[in-house]
């Protein structure tokens, strides 16, 4: 198992993407699947930065190699909020960190993309924050 801890700030998700790229290469994932895993992790890190209301502004990623699959968890500490409050949180986060002018209302693709790119995706609200668990199977 590998773990990485990132500060939430511009472009740090790329550091995580390069870490997982190397782990996926060691596991001999196909290049196409390596791209998908990297992209899903980037979206998960962006979501954590934008929505988690974390005060320490850190993202924790774990990469567990389990036989023929790679299990990735992306967590951040912060208030675990009921969905309705979380929506407000998301809206206010968007004001500072959201989409560009002229593209309002076009967000909401993060989770959709992650679900398309990975095989299993579970979004959990855990006690000390939120956690996304996503799995990719090795295709031979």
């Amino acid at each position: 198992e590998f773990a990485i801890e990132l500060p939430m700030s511009e472009d740090t998700e790329l550091v995580a993407a390069h870490t997982v790229e190397q782990i996926a290469r060691r596991m001999e994932f196909q290049p196409e699947d390596i791209n998908k895993i990297k992209h899903a992790l980037i979206e998960a890190c962006i979501n954590a930065s934008e929505h988690s209301l974390s005060t320490e502004r850190k993202i924790y990623n774990r990469f567990r190699v389990e036989g023929d699959k790679l299990v990735i968890t992306v967590s951040s500490r912060g208030l675990s909020l009921p969905a309705s409050v979380a929506e407000n949180g998301a809206a206010s986060a968007d004001k500072n960190g959201g989409a560009a002018e002229g593209a309002k209302g076009r967000r909401g693709w993060g989770l959709k993309l992650i679900r398309t790119l990975m095989d299993d995706v579970e979004f959990e609200r855990v006690e000390d924050g939120t956690r996304l668990r996503m799995t990719k199977y090795l295709r031979k």
Binding site: E10, D11, E32, A100, E101, G102, R106
Partner: protein, 126 residues
């Protein structure tokens, strides 16, 4: 992350086609740079834009939403947008999120320019 470069640099005559290069990672910051470059070209009267993704490894979802804004803005001014040199992974992403229906797709910048120049040669309203 590298700056997107515009070619030819400097002023653009009305009716010309401009090329803007996307960087290696199209996120919020570099997406906004592309947006600025494109809006300047459109203001100056460009009838068509090529965004060249030859250096692009990844476009994140914020980058995609900004690209949609560019396509919108171009449409409102009667300018057309082409994407060239899009990688397989990014092409699938653009298909999934509905961008491919809104732009001209070309394998190379030359092919994109050839298609757009036909368009740009037609005077507005015809």
């Amino acid at each position: 992350m590298s700056e997107p470069l515009t070619e030819p640099s400097g002023g653009q005559a009305v009716g010309e086609v401009a090329v803007v290069y996307a960087g290696d990672y199209v996120n919020k910051m570099s997406g906004q740079r592309i947006e600025r470059e494109c809006l300047i070209r459109i203001e100056r009267g460009c009838r068509a834009l090529v965004i060249n993704f030859r250096d692009t490894e990844l476009v994140n979802s914020i980058g995609v939403s900004i690209l949609l804004g560019v396509i919108d803005a171009a449409e409102r001014r009667g300018a057309r947008v082409a994407f060239s040199n899009v990688s397989v992974h990014t092409l699938k992403l653009f298909e999934l999120l509905g961008l491919t229906r809104l732009v001209v797709l070309a394998d190379s910048e030359e092919a994109a320019l050839a298609t757009l120049e036909d368009f740009s040669a037609t005077p507005p309203g015809h």
